[in-house]
């Protein structure tokens, strides 16, 4: 596991720096090629979004000069850039990628866009051949982890803007919003935004009423809706299931008697009032009626902040999932690592060779140094020839998904038992024990 990652994000670097590092989509393939051509780098890809620029690599020895790459590529001086960079290696790099894909490192935690962006970056790098075995494994896992976080925690499920909270509440009342009618009372930016959100979730027709009739017509046209004269407000309002009200009236314009009228005409089907006016447009006693659900700006604001708190709690759970997944990924990579198997195979055959030489040496009597060397060369030659194909197969398998199968077959064929947990570490791999039972 020789992953190495370097980058900047919204927390580590100001916008000016991120702007200078941002790579336009059209330049991404070339950047990936350039990256893999850089010394010490086997595979590499670049994630470039408005909030982050990250270079993810799998390196030859785990110590590639990624900073150097950034300096060269962007023609930036170390003193300009280095203070804003973060760098992760191995397990930390894996964790970071998992967190990014699961949207835990985002500015708005849980937003869904980042996963799509990472997937695109991955596809681009893969298309130019910059992502092969190891990064492929890493990102496939990262996408699976992101999906798991999304399904097992509610980190991405709750919305944080007032408009989207309003949509969510409407859904809690009506279930599906398809065919529900919306009434905008008092044309304003915020009501327009809320209406847009509701329409995006399938609401049917829109009615607009405003003191100035022309403005009502203007807004109604935007939504393909119907402008209503303000005098007709009370006689038409019951046609709407959701009322967004934001007039500048000094007193409540919807009072209990209006609510009772509406409900009677609607056969008590519920109505949802989104009251974003200050002072409020819906009176307190009307809000108490059965079937009238009125949320004022404070209620909505509170819902927004409770969502933020909920998200934080869910993010903690997501972090736990990721910690577990990083461990699992590490363990999986270790089984995929072919180095220990190759080492055990070499050791195994060497032991056999030595044993056989020792066995026949007695029968052959004293050998001259030349004869000794010839025997040595002959046996070594045989062993190397025999081992050539299995080793190349193992090495090429390491870059494919079939690695585990091949490793398993070779181990079984030669009865190899690899112990030692740090299989990725060559020193430990050398120590790998060889089963010599025959």
């Amino acid at each position: 596991m020789r992953f190495q990652l370097i980058g900047v994000n919204h927390k580590s670097a100001p916008l000016e720096i991120r702007e200078r590092l941002a790579i336009p989509e059209s330049r991404l393939p070339d950047t990936c090629r350039e990256l893999t051509a850089y010394p010490g780098i086997e595979e590499g890809m670049v994630i470039s979004t408005c909030n982050r620029v990250e270079v993810v690599t799998h390196t030859v020895n785990g110590h590639a000069d990624l900073r150097g790459f950034l300096h060269d590529h962007f023609h930036l001086k170390p003193e300009e850039l280095d203070a804003h960079l973060y760098e992760f290696r191995e397990k930390d790099a894996v964790r970071h990628i998992f967190r990014v894909a699961a949207s835990l490192d985002s500015m708005v935690v849980g937003e869904a866009q980042i996963l799509g962006q990472v997937k695109e970056a991955y596809a681009t790098a893969r298309a130019v051949g910059a992502v092969r075995g190891q990064l492929d494994q890493l990102f496939s896992r990262a996408f699976a982890v992101a999906k798991r976080v999304r399904t097992e925690t509610a980190v991405g499920s709750s919305s944080v803007s007032i408009a989207s909270v309003a949509v969510e509440l409407a859904k809690k009342i009506f279930g599906s919003l398809h065919g529900k009618n919306v009434f905008i009372v008092g044309a304003g930016k915020m009501s327009e935004l809320a209406a847009r959100h509701l329409m995006a979730h399938g609401c049917g027709s829109i009615f607009v009423a405003n003191r100035t009739y022309e403005r009502a017509i203007g807004l109604a046209q935007k939504f393909d809706g119907q402008a209503i004269k303000f005098e007709d407000l009370y006689s038409t309002c019951d046609r709407a299931d959701i009322v967004i009200t934001s007039t500048g009236a000094p007193h409540a314009i919807f009072r209990r008697e209006h609510g009772e009228q509406f409900l009677a005409r609607r056969k008590n089907r519920p109505m949802f009032f989104i009251d974003i006016a200050v002072p409020r447009d819906v009176s307190q006693d009307m809000a108490k009626l059965d079937g009238i659900f009125a949320y004022d700006i404070d209620d909505l604001q509170q819902a927004v902040s409770s969502h933020v708190a909920d998200r934080r709690k869910e993010a903690e759970r997501a972090e736990e999932i990721i910690a577990g997944e990083v461990e699992r990924f590490e363990a999986r990579l270790q089984t995929l690592d072919v180095v220990p198997t190759i080492v055990s195979l070499q050791d195994h055959l060497e032991t056999i060779r030595q044993a056989e030489i020792d066995r026949v040496r007695g029968r052959m009597g004293q050998l001259t140094p030349e004869q000794e060397m010839a025997v040595e060369a002959l046996t070594r030659g045989i062993i190397n020839k025999v081992m050539h194909t299995p080793i190349t197969t193992l090495k090429s398998a390491a870059r494919e998904s079939e690695a585990t199968t091949v490793v398993d077959v070779v181990r079984r064929l030669f009865n190899l038992q690899v112990k030692g947990k740090e299989a990725g570490d060559p020193a430990a791999a050398k120590k790998a024990e060889v089963g010599t039972r025959q």
């Binding site: 809690k172 609607r266 008590n268 819902a303 409770s306």
Partner: protein, 270 residues
């Protein structure tokens, strides 16, 4: 043997019962899935138990235990039907405890209680029992839905509904579940009472309206009808509908309990 299957079913429904209590305080997708699977498994055992008792010829239509078992099974079927349509397990909060209770009583190893009167027209009796139980099951569900409606309404009114922890379906969905169960149950209940009257007529030659069982049954039916009417006519829902549903449910319970006071619908240990 059938009792054994019934007890297995009871064990499964117990998981549902636990779910019913837990679901009121916190939401767990995993747990609702477990409860759903346990309930399905319970229904399989339950079905086997019913079939076995039926095939072995021991099924006595007028036995209280068999009746309770059948009622529990029909209620569960309704629950599953709702799950299939609305993908929600929340009616289980009400249905599971009731089903558990019914199955529990039915699975007790006591002498079956039999209707004392000898019924001459068995076909009518069978029709009466199945129809009225379907009606009861629909009523149970409608009652459950109206309680959930109240709960959801009060959450929305108290402005706490925005919390992530909300297992209840949308208000209108709950309302639909309740209304549809009500509509579906009404013809069954009506026909059930009519067939019951036929049984009474053929057995006793008259329908004694002063008998507590009949009085309460008619009362229950009247409340049921008022519920359907007010809902259809003026869209009553929420608190008023819940009051009516509770009243109908209590009337149904009373009608059930009236077996012990009724002279014509009496069960006795055989």
């Amino acid at each position: 043997m059938s009792l054994l299957w019934l007890r297995f079913a009871l064990g499964c429904y117990f998981v549902g019962l636990i779910y019913a209590f837990v679901a009121l305080t916190r939401t767990s997708d995993l747990f609702s899935r477990i409860a759903l699977h346990a309930a399905s498994l319970g229904m399989v055992f339950h079905f086997v138990s019913l079939v076995e008792v039926f095939v072995s010829g021991q099924f006595v239509w007028a036995s209280v235990h068999n009746g309770e078992s059948l009622l529990a099974f029909i209620s569960m079927s309704f629950f599953m039907l709702i799950y299939a349509i609305y993908q929600t397990t929340s009616p289980g909060v009400v249905v599971f405890p009731i089903v558990f209770f019914l199955t529990f009583v039915a699975a007790m190893d006591e002498q079956p209680v039999l209707l004392t009167a000898l019924v001459s027209h068995k076909g009518w009796l069978v029709a009466h029992i199945i129809l009225i139980f379907t009606g009861y099951a629909a009523l149970v569900l409608s009652f459950g839905a109206s309680l959930l409606y109240l709960l959801q309404e009060s959450r929305l009114k108290s402005k706490k509904a925005t919390s992530l922890i909300s297992f209840l379906p949308a208000l209108e969905v709950i309302d639909q579940i309740g209304y549809r169960s009500l509509l579906l149950g009404f013809p069954f209940m009506t026909l059930g009472l009519l067939t019951g009257s036929v049984v009474a007529l053929t057995t006793y030659g008259k329908v004694d309206f002063l008998d507590p069982k009949i009085l309460l049954s008619v009362l229950m039916w009247a409340v049921y009808m008022i519920m359907v009417f007010t809902r259809w006519n003026s869209g009553w829902r929420g608190r008023r509908a819940a009051f009516l549903a509770t009243f109908a449910f209590v009337a149904a319970l009373a009608a059930w309990a009236a077996n012990y006071f009724s002279t014509i619908h009496r069960f006795a240990a055989s």
